[in-house]
Subunit: 250 residues, 2 copies
DNA sequence: CGAGGTCTTGACGTGCTTCAAGTGCTGTGG
DNA sequence: CCACAGCACTTGAAGCACGTCAAGACCTCG
């Protein structure tokens, strides 16, 4: 249990360091954060739309989604959080807005008090900047999702999501861009892409038939990264990683 | 000229104060910011996709859009900035990502050095938090755009944009929710909503025919706010205004 | 007075949705 | 160890929202 949460904090720190320099003291302060571990079953909501919580939610294992819900009950996933991501970092400065959080797959989370995070940000300006910078990553990804959903057809849209998650999981050390876990049902994939489950299914089939990706056991295997990225018109700059993720071989 | 920029800083300060408390000293520091005024003609790009700049861009007058460009040249607008908004506040902590900025209408901007803003954030922690909080508003709006484009049909989507801009312009003191400037062509409206200009035209017509809105001279007149908000399923919480914007009469 | 952008309209095509049914898997209780 | 319930996935057929193409009207400004 403690092992898990330490590993998660380490991963969170890695994510911050990927974009922001932090002194040893600051790094130690991050790793000293405490929270309690909460396990959530797949398809269980963690925070209901509009609900306010006093703690942020660090993903230790599994997959979490932020979603918006329409009045007819259909959902749109607006961001995905993989292990090492802090779901509610922005709520340190802003109370929750009307979004919900749900466990896409069986998930382990570490709940960390907003007040603890806020204290850290006040005490260490470097951490405040790192946190701020980390939330801009979310903005950038959200903006990309807008153009993805607004201007690309299903096939390209799905390819783009695969590329994004591939790079992010690789960066988090959970998989490689060519083979990574994506524990979502086709239904949830539809919620993320703004498509119906039926069309997700058919679109996925075309990607498979063209030999671009294979899926098995909730993992995505990318057979030809370059071609997939072409279909997606994928430009990784929006992920705001200072190390060029392009560098790695395709 | 100086008058203009003072008014813009005042408006920017008002926007910050709407969500963050600032001491008198901090407020004065914001108002003391200096920049140079740049006028931009309609349809002129301010920052090209991928370009980096050393200054943020405060909208004094007009309308600015952030956009993403597909390889075939089509654009998707990912955020709109009205007078008093700072376009590139997040680039104080993150270099530009691949987005472009364009003047939707004839626009006056005030360019403020990132370094000046960063200094302010370092010197006054209250300002750092206010800036951070301000960027979370952008995230929240972007997330709402995802669900808007992903899960709503054209009519509802357009209604939602009108509601959003109505509330934001009202808050900025530029108009009321029932009558506000929206200096966009139907083409640009399509770029914001993920629709073709032709379909924007037809959709707008249905809203007009149903007596919900009227447009003239680049202004939107909302005839029946309540009904428009219903069509949009508009819930203003995502704008993160501490004062309840609902309070005002419909 | 002409050029070019903006808006409008019509006809037609298509990507995606909807509805409906059926298959296969997995886990659970008798 | 089998029966069955429930969910995920798959497939087909039909419909609709929106895109595409094309042309014409209107407006503004040089």
């Amino acid at each position: 249990m403690i092992r898990n949460s330490d590993a998660a904090l380490q991963r969170f720190l890695g994510r911050l360091l990927c974009r922001s320099p932090l002194t040893d003291t600051e790094q130690a302060a991050i790793l000293d954060l405490r929270g309690h571990v909460v396990r959530v079953a797949a398809h269980r909501d963690i925070v209901l739309p509009g609900e306010e919580t006093g703690s942020a939610c660090l993903v230790v294992d599994g997959l979490v989604a932020r979603f918006d819900q329409m009045s007819n009950g259909t959902r749109q996933i607006t961001s995905l959080y993989i292990p090492g991501d802090m779901c509610d970092l922005h709520s340190v400065v802003s109370p929750t807005a009307g979004w919900g959080l749900t466990a896409v797959a069986p998930t382990v989370t570490l709940r960390i008090l907003h007040s603890d995070l806020r204290e850290l940000a006040i005490k260490y300006p470097g951490i405040a900047f790192a946190f701020w910078r980390d939330t801009t990553v979310e903005t950038s990804i959200a903006a990309k999702w807008v153009s993805n959903v607004g201007r690309r057809e299903a096939r390209s849209r799905m390819a783009h999501l695969f590329c994004e998650i591939g790079i992010r999981t690789e960066r988090a050390g959970i998989g490689t861009r060519n083979d990574f876990p994506l524990p979502m049902t086709q239904n949830q994939l539809g919620d993320a892409l703004g498509l119906t489950p039926v069309h997700v299914n058919r679109t996925l089939q075309t990607l498979r038939q063209d030999g671009l990706v294979a899926t098995e056991n909730r993992r995505v295997h990318v057979a030809r990264w370059k071609e997939l990225a072409d279909v997606a018109e994928f430009d990784p700059r929006f992920l705001l990683m200072t190390e060029r993720p392009d560098a790695v071989a395709a």
